[in-house]
Subunit: 397 residues, 2 copies
């Protein structure tokens, strides 16, 4: 049997493989991007499930519109106002997590060998989703304010067959960085100039621990070329696989056609449950609760890194989201350190996989949402010791 050419490039996500390795409950894991399950609204879900099935159980279990459940789409549209996006339910498609919006973006825009422009590093799950359409990747260097626009400009001028720009502007995965407003505007100006779509992936923006949320890149889009991907995975719960794709008219229609062929529509019952949750409870109060917990964990992680990591490890200070990103001296290899770290029951994700074209093996990502404050301090302490030993060993050679 012969497979499609794309299958050569597809492999298991390194994170998923790592997560399998560390099923041992003794492991202190900074590896996944999992929300803290003790914050999930389990009791509320029981109430909304029963309410939905009692009110209109038959419709809740039947096939439904590809676009999604309209009352839910209306509520999502309204929630977009706070980041400067004025829109309506007509511009919202409900997807199976924002991951599905990534897959659809590949399907809508990419032919074999087309180019995706992305941040360096970028989200592993997006890279894998796009790889199914056999593109090439051009990575743009980033700093504390997002993509370095001069580098982007140069790439756009010099590269053929660019079809899409993909960015995660708020608390980026894996770097934890957030784009400045000025860079957002300049990105839009360039997308307009080169007539390119921008996929704005924003799973973490609502989890800001301090300061003000910047307006979405989409809010500066006057030509309908930004597709905004959102999700309830980090603010509600991920197991329900509820995300959305926001796009203007004809462009969103293409995503809807793709959704029809991919899985007809998203789970009807779950959409109605989330809609009922938004009616019966205050999700913003719920998000505040999540942020309080994550903020403290972030603080403990930052303090611990400062205390226990060797001084020549660089790291970002995230104002929200789930991750910080560490850079070791050039000659060090985070995959090798992972193998040593897992021996003292501490896990993280080596950074190499976040670079679609490879390299930067001296980086790694740390998650702080899943572990208790005590475990975070203990884990960082152990990891600091492993790093210290590696550096000392390196010097003795």
């Amino acid at each position: 049997m012969k497979f499609a050419r794309r299958m050569e490039a597809l492999k298991a996500s390194e994170i998923r493989e790592i997560l399998k390795l560390i099923e041992n409950p003794d492991v202190i894991s900074f590896a996944g991007g999992l929300p803290a399950p003790e914050l999930f609204p389990v009791e509320e879900m029981k109430k909304v499930s029963v309410a939905v099935l009692e009110e209109d159980g038959q419709q809740a279990l039947q096939y439904s519109a590809t676009e999604g459940y309209r009352p839910l789409r209306e509520k999502i549209a309204k929630r977009m106002e706070v980041i400067g996006i004025g829109t309506t339910a007509d511009n919202i498609l409900i997807t199976s997590g924002s991951q599905q919006g990534l897959d659809f973006s590949g399907k809508v825009f990419l032919d074999e060998d087309d180019v995706v422009v992305c941040e360096s590093p970028s989200y592993l799950g997006a890279i894998n989703a796009f790889r199914a359409y056999s593109p090439k990747f051009v990575e743009i260097e980033t700093d504390e304010d997002g993509m370095i626009i001069e580098d982007l400009e140069k790439a756009l001028a010099e590269t053929k067959n660019i079809k899409m720009i993909y960015v995660i502007p708020d608390f980026q995965n894996p770097s934890g960085r957030t784009w400045s407003i000025e860079r957002r505007k300049r990105l839009i100006a360039l997308a307009n100039q080169y007539d390119l779509p921008v996929v704005e992936d924003n799973p973490y923006g609502e989890l800001r621990f301090e300061g003000e949320r910047p307006p979405a890149i989409k809010s500066f889009d006057t030509e309908g070329r930004v597709i905004y991907l959102g999700t309830f995975s980090k603010t509600f719960c991920p197991g329900l696989r509820l995300g959305w794709t926001l796009g203007d008219g004809e462009l969103l229609q293409k995503y809807i056609f793709v959704k029809q062929g991919a899985d007809l529509h998203t789970n009807t019952l779950t959409q109605r449950e989330l809609n009922k949750f938004l009616e019966m409870y205050d999700i913003d109060a719920h998000i505040e609760k999540i942020k309080d917990v994550y903020r403290k964990r972030r603080d403990v992680m930052m303090d611990s890194i400062k205390k226990y990591f060797p001084k020549n490890v660089k790291y970002t200070y995230p104002e929200g989201g789930l991750f910080t990103w560490c850079e070791l001296p050039q000659e060090m290899n985070a995959r090798e350190i992972f193998l040593k770290s897992i021996k003292v029951n501490v896990a993280f994700v080596p950074g190499g996989s976040f670079f679609p074209n490879g390299g930067k093996e001296n980086t790694f990502r740390l998650n702080y949402s899943m572990m208790s404050e005590e475990k975070i301090e203990e884990g960082i302490k152990r990891l600091g010791k492993v790093l210290q030993e590696e550096m000392t060993a390196g010097k003795t050679i």
Copy 2:
């Protein structure tokens, strides 16, 4: 902005468009393929939702394995025995309906311009799913026993770049026909000879009103080249989007990679709810209830067709499933008849769309699962009148 080439071929499913036309509750619809919602286990779903959330609510709302929830996969594996498939949970991937298994089959096997061999007519949703990968289609004539094997043999010998054979062997959509055991064996022999994968799509097999279920095509597969797609949409409820892909080892692994990029995993909560339903209730007794209702509706539809349709309309007599298939005299056009039929509030799906290469506009599909017996008789009576008038008018020209 430039879209991928595939987007030129993708359009809204004709069925979905028709379903939008007929939201008027006065319409007697034979158009959709919707299960009867009055048979959905609404009360049971309330109980299993609460049970799952009480037992392990946090895990039920968390991210979970791409492959799916193991206890559910084990139960599905066991349910495959009745059609001759001996398998284990390791060979089962939970998908968002069997529709997602169709999309994944396209992704795993098809490059642009590769050939899919399918029945003529074939399932519209599969044709649309595959179209996203820009293949060509070779249609094989079918009769009451399935594909005409001599035609298949000829096509396999003469056609280049065939990558996949796609069939719906039980109560086919749209034709309502079932493959004989002999044809199933001969299909496998040819697939072996030409080293081709077979995608066996079986959403309706469990809804057999009389006679015995034939063994699955997969049951004759000794070389791991059949991928079997199943679903709970017709036997439980479709809104939950729960299906499965069954395949051997390495081949299934490719589907799992694809699933990871497409949406990470299927809804955790819903998988556990279905699993709990299978533990707390007798799904086979539930399926018997469904069959009793559909059998009667099938009978009323068949009797009414016999009574009210002009004698030169050919139709199939389905022993299960949801559909019958009608063929008008060659010169008649079912799309034109649809426009007249909808004026008397009766809807169906013109058959042309079920032929990926076009043609056969003199065919249409009738669904009998959704409407009450009274409405079925009334609807067929009205449609019979429209057909009679059309034929009479045709003769006067």
